[in-house]
């Protein structure tokens, strides 16, 4: 079903590289990302500090590498939870129909009516800052849309002849869903979620930028940008580097999603 493609191999390698950077961050970081050293603050590039140091004399590169953890782990965690949540609700609503469907669709209408960023902002505001609350907020705002997509897909599949046949023959519902519905829905949604991961990374950094995300001294890219804002004229590198990291991550996930989609379904290019 899937074609082998060179771009896909390259892009998945880069994603893998990124993820393993996050996983092995504590061992990869050349310096302690939390160690403050006022004597060494706001240094330029050097052998010891490849990207220089920040306003508390911490190694920027080490903080960037550790920062990958927050962004990626949160984004991937959101991906996983959203996947499960939207699958369960979407399939239930789409396949069973009735009240479940009605409730979901109305909930969708309403929740989609509030722009994601604002919704997340309000939820984080309500729950308080911190990685965990931010994580919850992002899931709350994102799962509904996916659930709706799944619901629509399931509705289409439910009408397909082979599902009708399976129902007619008396195949149990759980088995029909497992066999005839999930294998079609799963890869599509995974793909959509992967493509959406880029925007999740952006959302995380935006919330952190506003001081609603992670707590210091945990290094997070959005927060690093807001910390370094005041050094823009004296030390522009400090702001440039985390921004570039965010862009790069978003771009890589976009590209990965694109290549994956092309490989799965070349027509959708």
């Amino acid at each position: 079903m899937m074609k082998k493609s060179v771009p896909l191999i390259i892009s998945s390698m880069i994603v893998l590289l990124l993820v393993s950077t996050a996983v092995f961050a504590p061992w990869l970081a050349p310096n302690d990302p939390y160690a403050t050293n006022m004597a060494m603050k706001l240094q330029g590039m050097s052998a010891a500090y490849p990207f220089g140091t920040d306003h508390l004399g911490r190694c920027v590169l080490s903080r960037l590498i550790m920062g990958a953890r927050v962004s990626l782990f949160t984004a991937l965690g959101v991906l996983a939870v959203t996947l499960v949540l939207s699958m369960v609700v979407g399939v239930a609503a789409g396949y069973l129909g009735g009240i479940a469907d009605l409730v979901l669709m109305r909930a969708c209408d309403i929740l989609m009516a509030i722009p994601h960023f604002i919704f997340a902002l309000v939820i984080v505001g309500a729950l308080g800052g911190g990685v965990w609350n931010m994580f919850i907020a992002i899931i709350i705002v994102s799962w509904v849309g996916y659930a709706r997509i799944i619901r629509n897909m399931v509705r289409g599949l439910k009408e397909s002849t082979y599902v009708q046949y399976a129902k007619m023959t008396g195949v149990p519902t759980v088995k029909i869903v497992k066999r005839h519905i999930l294998p079609f829905v799963f890869p599509q949604i995974l793909l959509l979620l992967l493509i959406g991961t880029g925007s999740t990374v952006l959302l995380i950094s935006e919330l952190s930028f506003l001081g609603l995300g992670v707590t210091a001294p945990m290094p997070e890219w959005g927060m690093m940008i807001s910390e370094s804002k005041m050094y823009l004229s004296s030390n522009p590198m400090l702001m440039f580097v985390p921004g570039a990291m965010i862009s790069l991550t978003v771009l890589i996930f976009d590209w990965f999603g694109d290549t994956l989609r092309d490989a799965i379904d070349p027509k959708m290019k």
Binding site: H116, I118, A126, G198, S205, L232, M239, I246, V250, D254
Partner: protein, 302 residues
């Protein structure tokens, strides 16, 4: 549609009530005032916060229908007034960004289909995609730093003149452009694959007519639906842009009100933005129905 708007009122009212900070305490805190029990009770009474929640909701809803969202806890001014004056600014910003999105993604998207795979096409697309992946707050600062401060081309910040709107509108728009280039490109290619295009070619219809009348018109419904979503997103995304560029818009106001836990403002804001979204979607459906006669049959509830 009315059902959806009603739902939005529910969310805007009760979601805000989830916030664990007591609004009265917030009122005191934001004013840096010491709190006494009597003072709390007095404010509570004054704002009707001591009534049952459902009663409060009913009251709020009744007033909201008459475009009265109550008074800001913070400034004592009517929320509707505050919001409307700021909304005009944000809508201006969003509208400018909206046209930039349509213009740029339209040109690049159509170009990329008509002159597929050209060098210029590839380069511009790569550039646009790269910029879109940048966080808007960061991009905003970099643009201000480079364009305004280093080159001195455009004004730094503020709002009111066309020059002042260029940078923020662009920053806001950039995030959406690649999405639309992709949407336009994908749906145009999809449309071109359709058999009726082959039939039109077989009739010798001019390529320009095919692109205009068949392909572009064919992608409009998908475009309208997405644009309606984007309108909401642009209004939401304006919050950060407004902070960076010192624009007196509603997004910045939201962030400030959020920090102050100004219930009345937050509720009114979410209600208005949700209603706008519902209206945008309704308009999109309407436009779709105008373009695509088949959509007229499908719409059941209004």
């Amino acid at each position: 549609m009315l059902a959806a708007i009603w739902g939005v009122t529910l969310v805007s009212f009760f979601l805000i009530r989830l916030i664990p900070v007591d609004p009265v305490e917030a009122y005191f805190a934001i004013n840096n005032l010491p709190v006494t029990e009597e003072a709390i009770e007095e404010i509570r009474e004054e704002q009707g916060l001591n009534k049952p929640l459902l009663f409060q909701y009913g009251l709020w809803l009744m007033n909201a229908v008459q475009l009265d969202f109550g008074q800001s806890f913070l400034t004592k001014t009517p929320v509707a007034e505050e919001l409307l004056s700021r909304f005009s600014v944000t809508l201006g910003l969003a509208a400018a960004a909206f046209f930039i999105v349509i213009a740029i993604s339209g040109i690049i998207g159509i170009w990329s289909v008509v002159k597929q795979g050209g060098l210029v096409d590839r380069f511009t697309r790569a550039l646009v995609f790269a910029t879109a992946s940048m966080p808007s707050f960061w991009l905003g600062f970099v643009l201000v730093y480079v364009v305004s401060l280093k080159w001195g081309i455009l004004p730094l910040m503020g709002w009111g003149t066309i020059e002042q709107s260029v940078l923020p509108a662009f920053t806001l728009a950039l995030g959406y452009i690649p999405y639309y280039i992709r949407l336009i490109r994908t749906s145009m290619l999809e449309e071109i694959e359709k058999p009726h295009i082959a039939f039109a070619r077989a009739r010798g219809v001019k390529e320009s007519i095919i692109i205009r009348r068949h392909v572009l018109k064919g992608i409009l419904p998908a475009l309208f639906t997405s644009l309606a979503m984007t309108c909401g997103g642009l209004l939401g995304g304006a919050a950060i842009i407004e902070a960076v560029f010192a624009i007196p818009g509603v997004g910045r106001y939201l962030v400030e009100s959020m920090a102050a836990r100004d219930y009345a403002v937050l509720q009114g804001f979410i209600l208005i933005i949700g209603t706008l979204y519902v209206i945008f979607n309704f308009l999109a459906d309407l436009l779709c129905a105008i373009v695509d006669p088949r959509a007229r049959l499908k719409r059941g509830d209004i």
